[in-house]
Each structure stands twice: as structure tokens, then as C-alpha cells.
């Protein structure tokens, strides 16, 4: 007789506990990556502005990976939250005029995150009403609406001239944004790092496992009692908040916001980056952002007129021949090196 109240064997239970602990464990390449990223600020201080861009792009891509890679929502309008976050942080820094709480950068990040989470939560109900194609259109439509609003509300956003007079204060009241961008980079990277740890924790939580389940098989996920839409509302909200923080970082570290933050190409680029790096891996977003920026720079320097051609070609080849993007390659090599399966 099968007894649903039975207990596991001692051996089985400890094997299971060890299995779960092992799954979420930090691996050495992860430490290497983060130490390396922080070291860059001191090894190549002259390139700090570029690194800062990469860190912001990585956070933006991370936010889309939560939405696309884990919640399985294909969004063509994720840039809307990036832009909103940028405007919120920009307007706060402008209102504070370089001093006090309003200009405090970390306060700006917090408010941008909360604001974008709120907008993300509301719009998630629209997005989740339809299937894949509808979602694509709804996300795109929402982003276009916000872009046009930013354009029309020139009294607030500065319209096509951009938002002038963005004056972020000292970070935590201690560190000033310097001309070379080293503090900016360290600030963006630290934010990325902290939010990455949070994302990693969430993905390894029961909530995160249920997201993977929904993406893997929504029918079965419902049949085990998962309220699929509510979980997706949550993931979309989290992704929106993260994108808002990325936008806020851009506004603060460049002390400027223009309509460009709302442009469609941002949504397209970030999707490219996530696919390029590897969907649903978290690290793919970071590696993808770095690779994208490096490739962009190299190709733009080598063939200023045809760089998009080469970027497109590389993307097509990668998608066709390497399953799982760059992270697919990396985990393949890592598993061959260690003989172990399943990196985080």
C-alpha cells in the first residue's frame, strides 16, 4: 500500500537535502566574474565610462531575463520601464538640485524601482490576458504609449531637448560622481551585484522554481495548484522594477535623460542581448551585455557602415548552432571541466 503519510528513508532525505543545497551553491566562475568586474575599475580606469554602460545594460538585460527567461513572457516593450525609471530618477535629481534626499542617488533608485514596479504590476494584467503574439503586441503598444507621453509632456520631461539640470548628489552622501566615471561604474556595478544576488535568491526559491515550471509546462503547473497568472504578475513586476533601476542608473551617471531612453531600439537591443547571452540563466544577461558592447565597439570601428550586418550574422549563427547562447557554451565547457551538471 502506498502511504502518503510515510517518511523518507534517512539516506534518501539527506541525499535530497544535499541535492538542493548543491543546486544553489556559488561556483568558482561566478566569484571570478564578479571579482574581475570590480577589478576593472582599477585596472582600466580610463575605460570606466564604457564599463558603466555595460553594467547598466547588464542590469537591464537581467530584468528582461526575469520576464522572458523565467516567466516566459516575450516582451517587445521592456524599454518602457527603463525609460520610466530614467525619468523618475532624473526628475528627482533635478528637483533636489544636487542636495538633500531628493538628489540622493540611492533614494532615486528606490523610488524608480517602486514606481516601475507599480506600473509593471498594473500593465502585467493587460499583458497576461493574451497568448504569445498578443503579449508581444501589448508590450509593444504600452511602450509606444509611454514614449509618446514623454514626448508630449515636454513641460515635465523636456521633450525632444531632453531633461536638463539633472544633478544627482553624492552616493550615500560620501562619493561624488567623477568625470572619469570610476565612481559611477562602481556605483552601477554594486547596484547590479546586489540586485543580482537578490534575483539569484528569488530564482532559487520555491517561487522561482514555480516560474520555471510554468515556463516548462503551464498545463501541468496549473494542475499541481499553481495560480499561474498571479506568479507571472509577480515576475513581471519584479522585472519592471529592475528595468527601472537600470534606467535610473543611466540618468544619474550621465546626469541627463533624453527621449532616447524610451526608444524602441532599447527594447530590441536588450532582447538581442538576452538571447545572445543565453535565456533563463541570469549570467547570460551580464555576459551578453558585455559581449554585445564589445562586439558593437569592435565592429563599429572595423566596418563603420556594415557593423549591423556583421552583428546580425553573428547572432544568426549563434542562435542556429549554439543552443542557449554564450552561456550554453560556457556551461558546456564548465561541465566538461568539472564533470558536473547544472550550473546555477
Amino acid at each position: 500500500m502506498i502511504d502518503t503519510a510515510a517518511h523518507a528513508t534517512q539516506g534518501g532525505e539527506s541525499r535530497a537535502m544535499a541535492y538542493f543545497a548543491e543546486r544553489a551553491k556559488w561556483r568558482w566562475p561566478e566569484f571570478a566574474l564578479w571579482i574581475g568586474a570590480f577589478a576593472l575599475a582599477f585596472l582600466f580606469p580610463s575605460r570606466a565610462l564604457l564599463f558603466n554602460e555595460v553594467a547598466i545594460l547588464a542590469l537591464f538585460a537581467l530584468s528582461l531575463d526575469i520576464v522572458l527567461g523565467y516567466a516566459g513572457i516575450v516582451s517587445l516593450g521592456h524599454g518602457a520601464f527603463f525609460g520610466l525609471g530614467a525619468y523618475v530618477a532624473g526628475l528627482l535629481a533635478k528637483a533636489g538640485a544636487g542636495a538633500g534626499l531628493l538628489s540622493d542617488p540611492t533614494f532615486g533608485l528606490l523610488i524608480s524601482a517602486i514606481f516601475c514596479a507599480f506600473v509593471g504590476y498594473i500593465t502585467s494584467f493587460l499583458v497576461l490576458r493574451g497568448a504569445d503574439l498578443t503579449r508581444l503586441m501589448v508590450t509593444l503598444g504600452v511602450a509606444l504609449i509611454f514614449a509618446e507621453l514623454a514626448n508630449r509632456m515636454a513641460w515635465l520631461t523636456g521633450g525632444a531637448d531632453g531633461l536638463q539640470g539633472v544633478m544627482p548628489g553624492k552616493i550615500l552622501g560620501l562619493f561624488e560622481f567623477d568625470l572619469f566615471g570610476r565612481n559611477a561604474y562602481l556605483y552601477s556595478l554594486t547596484t547590479l551585484f546586489l540586485l543580482f544576488i537578490v534575483a539569484r535568491k528569488v530564482i532559487n526559491s520555491p517561487f522561482g522554481v514555480s516560474l520555471r515550471a510554468i515556463k516548462g509546462n503551464a498545463l501541468r503547473a496549473g494542475a499541481v495548484g499553481i495560480n499561474v497568472n498571479r506568479r507571472l504578475n509577480g515576475a513581471y513586476t519584479l522585472g519592471a522594477a529592475y528595468a527601472g533601476v537600470a534606467g535610473a542608473l543611466l540618468a544619474q551617471t550621465t546626469a541627463f535623460v533624453s527621449l532616447d531612453v524610451m526608444e524602441f531600439h532599447r527594447s530590441a537591443d536588450v532582447m538581442l542581448i538576452v538571447i545572445f547571452g543565453g535565456v533563463g540563466t541570469l549570467y547570460g544577461a551580464i555576459i551578453g551585455a558585455a559581449a554585445f558592447k564589445i562586439l558593437y565597439d569592435l565592429l563599429a570601428a572595423a566596418t563603420p557602415q556594415y557593423w549591423q550586418f556583421w552583428l546580425g550574422l553573428i547572432l544568426v549563427l549563434l542562435v542556429l548552432f549554439v543552443r542557449g547562447g554564450i552561456m550554453g557554451l560556457v556551461t558546456g565547457v564548465y561541465q566538461r571541466l568539472t564533470g558536473k551538471g547544472g550550473a546555477a
Binding site: 537535502m17 522554481v209 516548462g216 494542475a223
Partner: protein, 279 residues
């Protein structure tokens, strides 16, 4: 069967149309607690549609579904699952990238209402892990619990399909052809496990295989063209001339009348086999 007060699952005048086709035609049905019920019928009789209506995968065109006396007709799948209605699918619905351990852990997290917790690592709830391993060990999945589901042999995947439905301790379990596609050699194990399921769980078996139906079921409903054709104790249904005519081959029914099903001979054996396999 009348709609008695002890029924865990019932339907009233349930209808489902697909365009002009009536897939479920005015079905009123009731299942008592701990039932061992089989739902049979020729191909295209609407068995799977009926199961989809019961579990909420499809909304009914009209009529009602009751779970524990409560009208759940408008409830989505997940809500019915939480209220104690589990099912397996004719075609495996599993998470290929999960391990059996994660799969059952997921199902149990939901059953314990811990599935939305985002602040702690999965696998730190001792009760969930303990229960998950216990059920995997009993269903002979203990030794493969850390393997990727997609790479398991089909028979093991079929066992997992049952395990994921059983783990949350449902009141009602709908088994949609549990042994479908399983090679002959592994079939017996599935049958033994189905027979060994807890007595208090009401089971509905949808099956083509008459050997399995008569071995397992105490009561049978025959569905023909979406409507309940005959219903009653297994022996009566087998003797019913209309059923013979519409559905069963004469010789097969006579065979089952001559040799009544053995009463739970496989029970203890399945349990022992499960534990033995995990040791």
C-alpha cells in the same frame, strides 16, 4: 449511483459542445469517497473531454461540477487542484528540465501553500523534502530522483506522472490511461502502483485495457457518444447485453465473467517493491 451526501465528485447535467459536436451530453454522475471507478467507452466517446471538464481544463457549455458538495464549475484548474482534485494526463505533462525531486517538491510546496515564497531557497522546507522523497521511494523513483526528467525512460516518466498527482494527497484522482504506451514488461508495475493507492482516495480510471479495468474497478460507467450509457457495479456492467453490443467484444466479457478479478492480490507487493528499489 445517486448524488449522495458522501460524494466527493459529482456532475449535474454536464454538457460540452464543440461547434455542432456534442462531446459531453447531459452527464449526471456521482463519485463516493474512496471509489474505485472506471470510465470506459469506445474511441471518441468523450472520455478525455469529460475528464477535462471535471478537472477544469475545459469550461462546460452548461451544467455543473461539484467537488465535495461545492459548485466548482467556474473554478480554474489550479483552484480545483488545491481543493483536492488531481489528475494524470494521457500524454505525459512533465517538466523535462526538472528532476523528479524538484517536480514532487514543487507539487508539495503548492499543497503546503509555500509555493509563492521567494525569500528562502527551495529545498529548505524539511516537511516538503521528507514527503517528496517518501513518495518517490514508494513509487520506485528513489534511485533516479536527481536525474533529469527528460532523460528518464518512458516507464519512469509514467510513474512520475502518477507521483506528481498523488503527492498532494488529493481526495479525487483522475487517471487518464496511466499505462498508455508503457512497454509490456513495465506495465505490471504501473498496475500494481495504481492498485496500491491509498484507500481513502477516490479514483477514476479512464482505460481501454479491459484486463486492467476489471482487475481494478468496483464500479464502471460506460460513455457512448458523450452520454452515460450504462453505470453500475463492474460485474453488472460486464453482464449488460447493451454494453456487449455497443462496446465490448462478446468473448472478452465472457472471459471476465468466468474469471472474476482477484481481490487486491498485488497490494503489499507493490509497497515492498517500492521500498526495496530505494534501499
Amino acid at each position: 449511483m445517486s448524488q449522495a451526501s458522501n460524494s466527493v465528485l459529482a456532475t449535474k447535467n454536464l454538457v460540452r459542445r464543440f461547434g455542432g459536436l456534442v462531446a459531453t451530453n447531459d452527464v449526471t454522475f456521482s463519485l463516493p469517497a474512496g471509489a474505485r471507478h472506471a470510465l470506459i467507452g469506445p474511441n471518441g466517446a468523450g472520455k478525455t473531454t469529460f475528464v477535462n471538464l471535471l478537472s477544469g481544463v475545459l469550461p462546460p457549455t452548461s451544467g455543473q461540477v461539484f467537488l465535495d458538495g461545492q459548485d466548482v464549475s467556474a473554478w480554474p484548474v489550479f483552484k480545483r487542484a488545491r481543493a483536492g482534485l488531481s489528475r494524470t494526463f494521457q500524454i505525459n505533462q512533465l517538466f523535462a528540465d526538472f528532476t523528479p525531486l524538484e517536480t514532487i517538491g514543487l507539487a508539495l510546496s503548492e499543497a503546503h501553500s509555500e509555493g509563492a515564497q521567494f525569500w528562502r531557497r527551495a529545498g529548505t522546507s524539511r516537511a516538503v523534502v521528507d514527503e517528496a522523497v517518501a513518495i518517490l521511494e514508494q513509487l520506485d523513483l528513489g534511485d533516479v530522483m536527481e536525474h533529469r526528467v527528460g532523460s528518464l525512460p518512458y516507464g519512469k516518466q509514467r510513474l512520475l506522472e502518477i507521483a506528481i498527482a498523488v503527492a498532494p494527497k488529493p481526495k479525487v484522482l483522475l487517471l487518464d490511461e496511466p499505462a498508455a504506451g508503457v512497454p509490456e514488461g513495465e506495465r505490471e508495475q504501473i498496475l500494481e502502483i495504481v492498485e496500491a493507492l491509498p484507500k481513502e482516495m477516490a479514483l477514476v480510471l479512464i482505460e481501454h485495457d479491459m484486463d486492467l479495468v476489471f482487475r481494478f474497478a468496483k464500479t464502471i460507467s460506460v460513455l457512448v457518444q458523450g452520454a452515460l450509457f450504462v453505470e453500475g457495479p463492474a460485474s453488472e456492467v460486464a453482464r449488460d447485453p447493451r454494453v456487449r453490443q455497443v462496446y465490448l467484444g462478446e468473448s472478452e466479457v465472457e472471459h471476465h465473467l468466468d474469471t472474476p478479478p482477484p481481490g487486491g492480490a498485488g497490494h503489499g507487493h507493490a509497497g515492498e517493491a517500492g521500498r526495496g528499489g530505494a534501499a
